[in-house]
C-alpha cells in the first residue's frame, strides 16, 4: 500500500449528481486484469465516459472542459458493490485527492483511506447545495483542512466539520502506513497466536 500525505487542499470540483454510483461504474470488471496499481485512471467511469464505439461521450462531466479539479462531488451511497481497490486507484490515478458525498459504502471508505484519497461525508442538504453551485458555476472552490477536519465552500463561507478516524487522520497527516504499524506488532501477534482458543 502506498504512503500518501494529505493536509490542506483548495480546489474546484467535478460534479457527479447520481446516487448509488457503484464500483463497477467507477472501473468496469473488464479492466481489472492488470497486475500493477498504475494506469487505471484511463478507464475511470469508462462506460459513461466513452460511447459504445469508443469515442468520448461529450455529455459526461469528465469530458466537459468547463469542469476541472481534484475534488469529486457525488450523490449518496458512493462506491457501493465490489471491494475492488482498483476503483480507488482509478479515481486517484485520474488526479482526484478527495471525494465528497453524503454517504459512502464501507469497503470503499476503507480502501480510499488506505490510498490517501480522502472521503468526506457532508449532509444531504449541503451536498445538494454544493452540486447546484458547482453546476451553475464551475469555478466554485472548496477548501479541505484535514488537521482542523473542516470542509468549506469558499465563496459562501459554508463550513462544516467532517469526521475521520483519529488513527487514520494521523496516518494521512504524517504519511504513515498500516503495514509498518502492524509489522511493528509482530511480537504481540505471536503471543496472541500462542494463547488463542476457539473463542
Amino acid at each position: 500500500m502506498p504512503k500518501v500525505k494529505f493536509d490542506i487542499l483548495e480546489s474546484t470540483c467535478i460534479p457527479l449528481p447520481f446516487e448509488n454510483v457503484d464500483t463497477d461504474q467507477i472501473i468496469p470488471a473488464r479492466f481489472l486484469s492488470a497486475t500493477s496499481r498504475q494506469g487505471f485512471g484511463d478507464n475511470l467511469f469508462r462506460d459513461w465516459r466513452y460511447t459504445k464505439s469508443g469515442e468520448k461521450n461529450n455529455e459526461f462531466v469528465l469530458n466537459n472542459p468547463v469542469y476541472s479539479g481534484k475534488v469529486l462531488v457525488a450523490g449518496k451511497n458512493f462506491g457501493s458493490g465490489s471491494s475492488r481497490e482498483h476503483a480507488v486507484w482509478a479515481i486517484f490515478d485520474y488526479g482526484f485527492k478527495a471525494v465528497v458525498s453524503s454517504f459512502f459504502a464501507d469497503i470503499f471508505m476503507n480502501n480510499a483511506l488506505n490510498n490517501g484519497l480522502l472521503p468526506i461525508v457532508i449532509s444531504d442538504d449541503l451536498l445538494k447545495k454544493l452540486l447546484v453551485m458547482v453546476q451553475k458555476n464551475p469555478d466554485t472552490k472548496v477548501k479541505i483542512d484535514l488537521e482542523k477536519q473542516t470542509f468549506t465552500i469558499i465563496a459562501t463561507g459554508d463550513s462544516v466539520k467532517f469526521g475521520i478516524n483519529p488513527y487514520k487522520k494521523e496516518c494521512l497527516l504524517k504519511g504513515l502506513d498500516d503495514i509498518d504499524f502492524l509489522l511493528n506488532m509482530k511480537s504481540a501477534i505471536n503471543s496472541f497466536e500462542n494463547n488463542k482458543s476457539l473463542l
Partner: protein, 474 residues
C-alpha cells in the same frame, strides 16, 4: 457478565490490540485470495522485502478471470492469462496452497472454501472480494477487503479494522411455494435499500432461517453486502454440524465430535443488545425480481415497477436514469416481458442445490428458442455432482449446455458477456449497469425464476410450474 452478540464474541476474541480512538488489530484465521485482487498485494511485499507471515492460513483459487469452456487450453486473453499465471507464481514462491485452474478442486472462492472444510464456525475470514460475507452462514465473521488489506493479512495475518455496528434481522413464519432463500434476501434488500445496512454487521435469526439448508443460508449471507452490510452471519446449529460432518475431511480438525461441542457454544446471549433490530414475515415473501440497476430495486415478480424511488421522489434523476438504462417505465409490469439470456451460477447460486432447483422446472421440458443459457457450476465438485445425479444429462436433454466452473457472467471478466441491450435473468448478485457486459441489462432472480424464464422465453412466475404441494407441475 454483560450479554454479548455472537458477532461481539467472535470479534472480541480476535482482537490482538485495540488502538485508542482507532481501529482494532484483528487476527484473521482464514484468508482466501484469487487472481484479481492479490497481485498488487504481493508486489507490495516484494517492495518491502518481506514474506508471507503465515502462508498456511491463506488459500488461493483462480476464478474471476477464467474461461468456462476449454479450460485445458491456454487462456486467450493475454492480461487474464498473465494474472492467473502471476497467482501461481506467487503461491509457489510463498508456499500458499493453490486450487488453480485445472486443479480437481478448483472453483469460485466462496464455493470451495466451505466445500473443502476451510470455513468453520467461530472463525474470522477475509478475502479481497465483497462476497466473502457468504461464509457467515457457518457462524463466522467473514467480510470483503481491499488489496491494501490483503497485503496487511499476507504480511502480518492481521488487519486494522473499525468494529461495525450490529443489526439483527429476524425472519419468522413459513415460506410459500416457489419462494427460495434468494427471494428472502432480495426481499429484505428491497425493503431496506441497497445502503440500508451500511455500517452494520448482520445476524440473521428466526424460524424461517433455521429451516434453511447450508446452501440456502450461504445465498442469504452472500448478498448481505448488497444492502451495504460488511457481512452477515447465522449462528451454527445442527444443520451446520451435519453439513460439516459429511465433508470428507476438515483441515486442522481431528476430533469432529469434541469440536462440535465447542461450536455449540457459538450464539448470541439471550439479552444481547443490537444497534438495530428488524423483523420480517417469511409468509409475505413472493418470488422476487429486480427492475433497476442496484439490488435494492427489486419487487415481487407479479408486481409493477414503482412510480417513484424509495424516498418517494417521483422521476428523480437517479431513478429515471436507472429505468432508462433497463428500457423500463415507472408503473410497468414485468411478467411476460421477453428475456434473451439466462445465467445460473456464481457464488450466490452456483451450488448443487441451485442446479437441482433449476432442474425441477426444466425436467421434461425444452429451453425456449430465444434464450441463450449460461449454466455454470460454482466448482469442480458441483460439476461432478451434477453429472453423478444425472443433472448434466437432464440439462443437455432440455437443450442446455453445462459449462466449466468459474465466476463467469456474474461480472463478465471472461468471454461470458451479455451483449448490449439484451435482457438476462441472472441468479447472481448484482444488476449494476454493465455488470454482465457493456450495456447488458440484468434482472436478478432465484434459480426457479431463471428456470421458468428459460422455458418460456419470458419473465414468468415460477409458481406457474409448481403446485401447492411444492411439486413441479407436469
Amino acid at each position: 457478565m454483560k450479554p454479548k452478540t455472537l458477532f461481539d464474541k467472535i470479534w472480541d476474541s480476535h482482537v490482538v490490540k485495540s488502538i485508542k480512538d482507532g481501529p482494532d488489530v484483528l487476527y484473521i484465521d482464514r484468508h482466501y485470495i484469487h487472481e484479481v485482487t492479490s497481485p498488487q498485494a504481493f508486489n507490495g511485499l516484494k517492495e518491502r522485502g518481506i514474506g508471507v507471515f503465515r502462508p498456511g492460513k491463506t488459500i488461493a483459487t483462480a476464478d474471476h478471470n477464467i474461461p468456462t469452456k476449454d479450460q485445458h487450453l491456454a487462456i486467450r486473453d493475454l492480461l487474464s492469462r498473465t494474472q492467473v499465471e502471476r497467482l501461481s507464481e506467487n503461491c509457489q514462491e510463498y508456499g500458499i496452497e493453490l486450487f488453480g485452474l485445472n486443479h480437481p478442486k478448483n472453483g469460485i472462492v466462496h464455493v470451495i472454501g466451505p466445500e473443502l472444510g476451510y470455513t468453520l464456525p467461530g472463525m474470522t475470514i477475509v478475502c479481497g472480494d465483497s462476497h466473502t460475507s457468504t461464509h457467515g452462514a457457518f457462524g463466522t465473521i467473514a467480510f470483503g477487503i481491499g488489496t491494501s488489506e490483503v497485503e496487511m493479512v499476507l504480511a502480518t495475518q492481521c488487519i486494522l479494522q473499525p468494529k461495525p455496528k450490529k443489526m439483527r434481522i429476524t425472519l419468522d413464519g413459513e415460506l410459500h411455494r416457489g419462494v427460495t432463500s434468494k427471494d428472502i434476501i432480495m426481499y429484505i434488500i428491497s425493503e431496506i435499500s441497497a445502503s440500508g445496512a451500511t455500517g452494520y454487521f448482520v445476524e440473521y435469526c428466526g424460524s424461517a432461517i433455521r429451516n434453511l439448508s447450508m446452501e440456502a443460508r450461504m445465498t442469504i449471507c452472500n448478498m448481505s453486502i448488497e444492502m451495504g452490510a460488511r457481512g452477515g452471519l447465522i449462528a451454527p446449529d445442527e444443520t451446520t454440524f451435519e453439513y460439516l460432518k459429511k465433508l470428507p475431511s476438515i483441515p486442522g480438525v481431528n476430533d469432529i465430535k469434541s469440536t462440535i461441542e465447542e461450536w455449540k457454544k457459538l450464539g448470541s446471549d439471550q439479552d444481547a443488545v443490537f444497534d438495530k433490530d428488524l423483523k420480517f414475515d417469511a409468509g409475505s415473501i413472493k418470488p422476487m425480481i429486480t427492475y433497476g440497476t442496484n439490488p435494492g430495486m427489486g419487487m415481487a415478480i407479479d408486481d409493477s415497477i414503482p412510480i417513484s424511488d424509495s424516498n418517494g421522489n417521483e422521476a428523480s434523476s437517479s431513478f429515471m436514469k436507472s429505468l432508462d438504462y433497463m428500457g423500463f417505465k415507472p408503473g410497468m409490469k414485468l411478467l411476460g416481458h421477453p428475456v434473451d439470456y439466462v445465467f445460473i451460477g456464481s457464488c450466490t447460486n452456483g451450488r448443487i442445490e441451485d442446479f437441482r432447483a433449476f432442474a425441477q422446472i426444466i425436467r421434461g421440458r425444452q429451453k425456449a428458442d430465444n434464450i441463450t443459457a449460461l449454466i455454470v457450476p460454482g466448482s469442480k465438485k458441483v460439476e461432478e455432482q451434477m453429472v453423478a445425479e444425472g443433472l448434466t444429462d437432464l440439462y443437455n436433454n432440455a437443450g442446455f449446455e453445462v459449462r466449466q466452473p468459474g465466476c463467469s457472467s456474474c461480472l463478465a471478466m471472461n468471454e461470458d458477456k451479455i451483449p448490449q441491450g439484451k435482457y438476462a435473468i441472472s441468479t447472481s448478485n448484482r444488476n449494476f449497469e454493465g455488470r454482465q457486459g457493456p450495456g447488458s441489462r440484468t434482472l436478478l432472480a432465484s434459480p426457479l425464476t431463471a428456470a421458468a424464464a428459460a422455458i418460456t422465453g419470458r419473465i414468468t412466475d415460477p409458481r406457474e410450474f409448481i403446485n401447492d404441494e411444492n411439486k413441479v407441475k407436469k
